[in-house]
Amino acid sequence: MKNKILFSLAVLFFIFCFVVLFKGLKNSNIYIPNTLSKKTLINFESKDLYSETTILSDQIFVGNDYYILNIWASWCLPCRDEHPILMKLRKNSSIKLIGLNYRDDPNNAKKFIDKFGNPYSMIITDQNGIISIELGAYGIPETFIINKNKKIIKKFIGALNQKSLKEIKLILK
């Protein structure tokens, strides 16, 4: 009788392990970050790409209801793909579009803007990538939607597309 109970317990235990591991097999092994956590924007100090003057984040995120912070670089190919979307977003007057130039040569960044157009109200630089990491960025391009309370309300990882444009427009409504 005791052996039977032990045997049943062992079988149950192995079934339990099998179910847990089998369920785990179906999970994606690619890390999917949380894009909806409402974190407060960190305070940072940066430089304007053109004037090279030092700017504090408090001076950037002021006076608008929504801000879009787009992390980009001239060497990043997906950034070229999303550029037309940013040009469309520029037309929306209720938002302030800020470009954060990530680990880039300033001359190349300026050439990129001259070639494809400037969708940004302001371009600030992140020469060593520290600001992007402190913001919680994974790579580029990446776009943060920030409200007037300086809360990051949505994060778009990767290039913006028509779907993300619709999502942004919905948020801004």
Partner: protein, 120 residues
């Protein structure tokens, strides 16, 4: 002459303290970066990776150490920005309780079986 000797001695001690402190910071930076996962790499720590993400994380660790944050505060900062997954040391929570409790459970079950065999 004595004043000069004292000055030289003070200068040497000061340099030694600075060098030791810098070495400690480098060691701590390496230790922390070994415990941080490179989120965009396949199975590499930030210490091992040369990706832009890892290089920037290393710079952030260095900056935070210079600001006077300790090891745990740096882990907390990174967990706050990137979630629990960034560290190689999973916390005990509803997603990891099997990971933490199963080995202990198996240890006790095994121990009980061995003990039973020994007694019988």
């Amino acid at each position: 002459m004595k004043l000069l000797k004292n000055f030289v001695l003070f200068f040497i001690i000061l340099n030694f303290v600075q060098i030791t402190s810098a070495e400690n910071n480098v060691e701590l930076k390496n230790k922390i970066s070994k415990n941080i996962r490179c989120l965009i790499c396949q199975g590499q720590s930030v210490y091992d990776s040369q990706s832009d993400f890892a290089i920037s994380i290393k710079l952030v660790i260095e900056k935070k150490l210079d600001e006077g944050l300790n090891e745990n505060e740096i882990y907390e900062f990174l967990k706050n920005q990137y979630g629990q997954w960034i560290t190689y040391d999973p916390e005990f929570n509803k997603n990891t309780f099997i990971l933490w409790t199963l080995p202990i459970l198996l240890f006790f079950i095994g121990g009980a079986i061995i003990l039973r065999k020994l007694i019988v």
